[in-house]
């Protein structure tokens, strides 16, 4: 394999691993704040301010930071009853095309979410209780979708190489 392919792919994998950690952290954070809030509210007349909105934001971070690595390990759900019956070559061609569709969709999602973030920045959109600005989260999410896009592109290249190698 050429370095042109392996070096960036190795970097991508590292970014995904890092993102997986962030997602796991968001999950633990949600668990912790809800528990602290429930205990504080019931036993100390002292709820954790902003639990509701921090849970929402953590949920979003968790999902988007884990999307790319989920794609890497093939955990995104597909319905496969047609393609599995094709010849290997045709199958790899279709799978390459599918990866290209995925990367186009992700590119459009990322740019439009980024635009949405810009609008939120201009309009000073914040959360309710803690007034946390929302736009940085949208920028981060756009970034994770770009990582996801590259994961799909590298998968597409891998499938295409399989097609070329076999013929």
């Amino acid at each position: 394999m050429s370095k042109l392919f392996t070096v960036p792919e190795e970097m991508l994998k590292r970014i995904e691993v890092f993102q997986q950690w962030v997602a796991n952290g968001a999950l633990l954070f949600m668990m912790a704040i809800i528990t602290i809030d429930v205990i504080g509210r019931n036993f100390f007349h002292n709820p954790l301010k902003g639990t509701y909105e921090m849970t929402e934001l953590s949920s979003a971070l968790l999902v988007f930071f884990a999307l790319a690595v989920t794609h890497r390990v093939g955990d995104h759900i597909t319905i496969d009853f047609l393609v599995e019956r094709f010849s290997e070559k045709l199958r790899n061609l279709i799978l390459a095309a599918v990866e290209m569709i995925i990367s186009i969709v992700l590119f459009l999602m990322a740019t439009n979410i980024f635009d949405n973030g810009l609008r939120m920045m201009e309009r000073h959109s914040t959360t309710t209780d803690l007034a946390i600005p929302l736009y940085p989260f949208l920028f981060l999410i756009a970034l994770t979708l770009m990582v996801f896009m590259f994961t799909a592109i590298f998968k597409a290249i891998t499938y295409i190489r399989l097609v070329v190698k076999k013929s």
């Binding site: 949600m30 668990m31 429930v38 319905i79 496969d80 969709v105 439009n112």
Partner: protein
């Protein structure tokens, strides 16, 4: 082109994308976006693409999903799940389909707490499927019992979707919440009967084990207490008002974490695996929900749901025939849309008609949920089945086939409730 035609083309195109192995979520996003662009314009479609993903992923009511899954992961990795099924096997392993029946019962309890079909399905799939496999249960039987069991939670109170029905129709919410209880239990019993029939007709699908002596039975209970403790904590906490069902996810996950750490049954390695598997599973579920949201906005603009319900309601037919047709329409909508979207799009037409025909509004709410539950287990949009497929890597098509007997029981339950409305109504009528 009229919006209806664009809608129909969109549905067909969606099936094509599914077939060429485009991930379910991506297919929904592609068709939803292109469809919105075709009906309105690209700007409008792109705005949806830029706003829906974040607002769906940051929805508070959905945020319960990862926390319940995490609780299940902790219990599974720590071996408490294995112990639970050891105990179940010791007590009722000699009964045909006993393990699958227990799975249904546990799912019912679990989804009653979480109120989320998705969370229950994912969690129970993680806890129970590997265990049932060890006892040589057939994949189709074990997955279908998880899929069916998960749907019980939106009938058994508390149910957020019945609250929504109450708001849309002004039916009393208190009565609606209690109305789901008996049908939920009835549905659960019907599922268990079906499992018994399957296991009885084809014993190889659900092998029985030999009857165990009492001493083994007693001993097997040693490690069931974490489950009892967590269920007790969750149900007690909700019942006595310490936390909401949504918060029960966070408290339950934390409780499971404490239990597994204090009993030294969760290694650091397994702890990390629990987290990573939870986040990846959550990501794949949410990705589909995001796609379904965009797709359903497209279907709303296509006016198809309103047009067909309008069409049915304009027919001059006897009340029962109209009801049957409405249920068929809901079944078809349930193939493509998620429950809340169906409610909002169709109830303004259907509800006045139903009450005018003399049917009870509370009863109809429960009936609608039964019909929509069927949609959760049918292709092309069968979220429960996709979730199980995601957890187990069993192809979705195989799971869809396996749930057919359960779908028959759901139809039977529906028929019983339409024939004997009192099954739904006697409990709410006891309320003042």
């Amino acid at each position: 082109m009229s919006p209806e035609i664009i809608g129909i083309i969109g549905i067909i195109a969606l099936l094509v994308l599914f077939m060429i192995r485009v991930p379910v979520a991506v297919s929904l996003i592609v068709i939803g976006t292109v469809g919105l662009a075709a009906i309105r314009d690209w700007d409008a479609a792109f705005v949806q693409l830029g706003t829906t993903p974040f607002s769906t992923a940051s929805s508070y009511s959905l945020s319960v999903i990862p926390l319940f899954i995490l609780m299940g992961m902790f219990l599974s990795y720590s071996g408490f799940g294995r112990d639970l099924y050891t105990a179940v096997d010791a007590w009722i392993g000699n009964i045909k389909g006993g393990l699958a029946m227990t799975t249904i019962g546990t799912s019912a309890l679990f989804s009653a707490i979480s109120g989320s079909v998705n969370a229950t399905t994912a969690t129970m799939a993680r806890i129970s499927l590997p265990e049932m496999k060890k006892y040589n249960y057939d994949d189709t039987l074990s997955t279908s019992s998880v899929a069916a069991g998960g749907t019980l939670g939106i009938l058994i109170p508390p149910s957020v979707i019945l609250v929504l029905y109450g708001i849309l129709t002004m039916e009393p919410i208190g009565k609606l919440l209690i109305a789901g209880l008996v049908p939920g239990i009835l549905q659960m019993i019907l599922f268990m009967i079906m499992i018994y029939i399957i296991a009885w007709r084809k014993p190889s699908l659900a092998p029985v084990t030999e009857k165990k002596p009492l001493s083994v039975k007693i001993k097997s209970l040693t490690y069931v207490w974490p489950f009892l403790l967590l269920f007790g904590l969750s149900i007690g906490g909700i019942y006595y008002g310490y936390f909401t069902p949504t918060e029960a996810g966070g408290v339950g996950a934390f409780g499971a974490f404490l239990l597994t750490v204090l009993t030294r049954r969760l290694s650091f390695e397994d702890f990390k695996k629990s987290l990573s598997e939870t986040t990846r599973l959550t990501a794949s579920i949410f990705f589909i929900i995001i796609g379904a949201d965009i797709f359903s906005k497209f279907l709303a603009l296509s006016t198809i749901p309103v047009k067909i319900t309008q069409f049915v309601s304009d027919l001059a037919l006897p009340a029962m025939a109209i009801l049957a047709l409405i249920l068929v329409v809901y079944f078809i909508l349930g193939l493509f849309l998620e429950g809340i979207a169906i409610f909002v799009l169709t109830l303004p037409v259907v509800y006045p008609l139903i009450t005018m025909l003399g049917f009870d509004g509370v009863w109809f709410g429960v009936v609608m949920i039964l019909v929509m539950n069927i949609g959760l287990l049918t292709p092309p949009m069968g979220l429960s089945v996709y979730i199980i497929s995601g957890v187990t890597n069993i192809p979705a098509g195989r799971i869809f086939k396996g749930v057919i007997p359960m779908l028959m029981m759901m139809v039977l339950c529906l028929i019983l409730i339409v024939t004997f409305p009192d099954i739904v109504l006697f409990l709410p009528e006891l309320m003042k």
